[in-house]
């Protein structure tokens, strides 16, 4: 008889392509990795509302404003789906928010960069969401059921995000001299941080191997990054944007683009809290979370009062 609570049995389920559900046996490391990765993912969606939110009130047309609002709303929704998926592992959203605000939990460093001109909204959609989608498509097949289901829904909804970003970039590259300059400026600032979104090289990524073994991650950081580079460079060239890297070239033999080395010092510096907006993003989150406390308390108080009333009338 096999032991259903053994790591070996768990691994055999993973290897045969089964999904793991909340109540199933899972090794502690698997649970911890999931909570860390999923909550980081959820926080990223929620913090990611801010850089784009910076431009809602300045969106240049009614159409642009509606699209941007709907997109940011989607991100909030995606954060919500992911928080719910983490909650299946017995961690409440209140705890997750506490971890974010205390700095114990991270979010994607990309959102510590500022959105400075309207083309940044294009660049965020095209490059940042584009990079996220490469990762998310892969995560639809992740081994944890609730995570996988959240990712399927997210991917379905995200499909318009990248296209709207590319549409903005295209419009601006076809526009006035000022607009072209804004688009190239946004490209210059977002290109490298977008590549960093996939995380350190596989050789430097300590947790990658477990995550791949458990099929939480289905492809490695470098594999995903390469996919993104290969599909994005032709898109940039099509609309006349310059890749901010003098050394990039297409390797005819492999069919892949090669680039200059990524500046990992910058990556680690931003993760350590020294990006342009780390402090601002977290303070914004804390401020509105605290300002909402009395509202949540009122809703709770109303519920308690009225559930008592209902009982009395029964």
């Amino acid at each position: 008889m096999h032991n259903e609570h053994s790591d070996a049995h768990f691994q055999s389920r993973i290897d045969s392509g089964e999904h793991i559900e909340a109540k199933d046996y899972m090794p502690e490391g698997y649970r911890k990795h999931l909570i860390r990765q999923m909550s980081q993912h959820a926080h990223s969606e929620v913090i990611g509302m801010q850089p784009e939110g910076n431009w809602i009130t300045r969106a240049p047309s009614l159409r642009a404003k509606q699209i941007l609002l709907a997109k940011i709303q989607d991100e909030g929704g995606h954060g919500l789906y992911l928080y719910s998926a983490v909650e299946t592992l017995g961690v409440s959203r209140a705890e997750l928010i506490e971890q974010l605000q205390s700095g114990k939990a991270k979010y994607s460093s990309i959102f510590n960069y500022p959105a400075l001109n309207w083309a940044d909204i294009g660049a965020i959609g095209w490059l940042v969401d584009g990079a996220a989608i490469v990762n998310q498509v892969s995560l639809q097949r992740t081994s944890y059921g609730p995570y996988s289901r959240a990712m399927v829904r997210i991917c379905k909804e995200e499909s318009f995000h990248q296209r709207q970003g590319y549409e903005i970039m295209t419009t601006m590259m076809r526009g006035t001299k000022d607009q072209k300059a804004m688009a190239q400026d946004a490209m210059n600032r977002w290109w490298w941080p977008a590549l960093m979104m996939f995380g350190p090289h596989d050789s430097d990524s300590p947790r990658s191997s477990d995550a791949v073994k458990w099929k939480i991650k289905r492809e490695t950081n470098d594999e995903l990054r390469q996919k993104f580079i290969d599909k994005t460079i032709p898109q940039a060239e099509l609309i006349g944007l310059t890749i901010p890297d003098k050394n990039f070239k297409l390797d005819e033999k492999t069919g892949h683009y090669t680039l200059s080395p990524i500046n990992w010092d910058e990556f680690h510096r931003v993760i350590a809290g020294h990006g342009p907006c780390n402090k601002q993003r977290l303070e914004h989150h804390i401020k509105y979370h605290e300002q909402g406390a009395w509202v949540r308390e009122a809703a709770e108080a109303y519920k308690i009062k009225h559930s008592k009333k209902e009982l009395q009338t029964v």
Binding site: M49, Q66, A70, G76, L80, Q291, V295, A301
Partner: protein, 252 residues
């Protein structure tokens, strides 16, 4: 004044209400008291901006100068905006947002239920769509009014203050000027003054249920029909119009 000119002005007023309130609500994105409410408020903002787009597009047609709805939304001077003063008031706290939503959505539900019968087919169609949206906005506002009014002492106090503060901007909702009257006779416009009694009794009923007091009568602020605003509108426009004004030749 031709019917077309009068209708243009009337449509601009309705469009501006949706445009400016939608703008205010859009400012709340990522600032909700809980993630779910953030999404709910964004949905309301999207309904408003969508309605503004439909109305201003119609205004552009009536104007007949080859302007788009964006030209109208983004290129006018402050005095040519005719949104009710209540729509441009700052968001303040969540209680203030809810108080504003309550006053406006109860009004708009009555208003669009009448406008649906307008002889102007475009306005009637826009009203039909708006009623469905506003019915939801109203339910959302009423439910929160009950929760905050009958929630904690703090929420009760905050909401009561917000209702009292905004009360002076509610008089405008029922004003009729010569454009309104002219179009009312042609069965195009709504008799806003006639909505007052129903609005008042509905607000009374909701506030009483929420254990709140109906604000005392006060001097009612006015000005939007003449383009005289509070200081808030100028700041909204300086943000909203920024790109359109800074790069007048650009297409977005």
């Amino acid at each position: 004044m031709t019917t077309k000119e009068a209708t243009y002005n009337y449509v601009i007023r309705l469009g501006d209400n949706a445009l400016i309130l939608g703008h205010r609500l859009s400012e709340l994105c990522s600032r909700g008291p809980i993630l779910e409410e953030d999404l709910a408020l964004t949905n309301i903002a999207l309904d408003m901006i969508g309605r503004a787009q439909a109305l201003l597009k119609y205004a552009a047609e009536l104007e007949g100068k080859a302007n788009t709805e964006d030209d109208i939304a983004y290129r006018r001077a402050e005095i040519n905006y005719h949104n009710y003063l209540i729509t441009e008031q700052p968001n303040g706290d969540f209680a203030n947002v809810i108080a504003r939503q309550l006053f406006i959505s109860v009004y708009e539900y009555l208003f669009f239920s009448e406008l649906e019968n307008s002889k102007d087919e475009t306005l009637s169609a826009i009203a039909k769509k708006a009623i469905k949206e506003v019915k939801y906005h109203k339910q959302h506002a009423i439910d929160w009014t009950l929760r905050l009014g009958d929630g904690t002492a703090e929420s009760h106090k905050r909401l009561q203050k917000a209702l009292n503060d905004l009360w002076m901007y509610t008089g405008e909702l029922f004003e009729m000027d010569n454009i309104d009257t002219y179009l009312l006779h042609q069965h195009i416009a709504v008799d806003a003054m006639a909505l007052k009694t129903k609005w008042q009794s509905e607000i009374d009923r909701i506030l009483t249920e929420a254990t709140l007091s109906v604000p005392e009568d006060t001097y009612m602020q006015t000005g939007s029909k003449k383009g005289i605003h509070t200081e808030n509108l100028g700041h909204i426009l300086s943000e909203m119009q920024y790109l359109q004004r800074a790069y007048p030749d650009a297409k977005w």
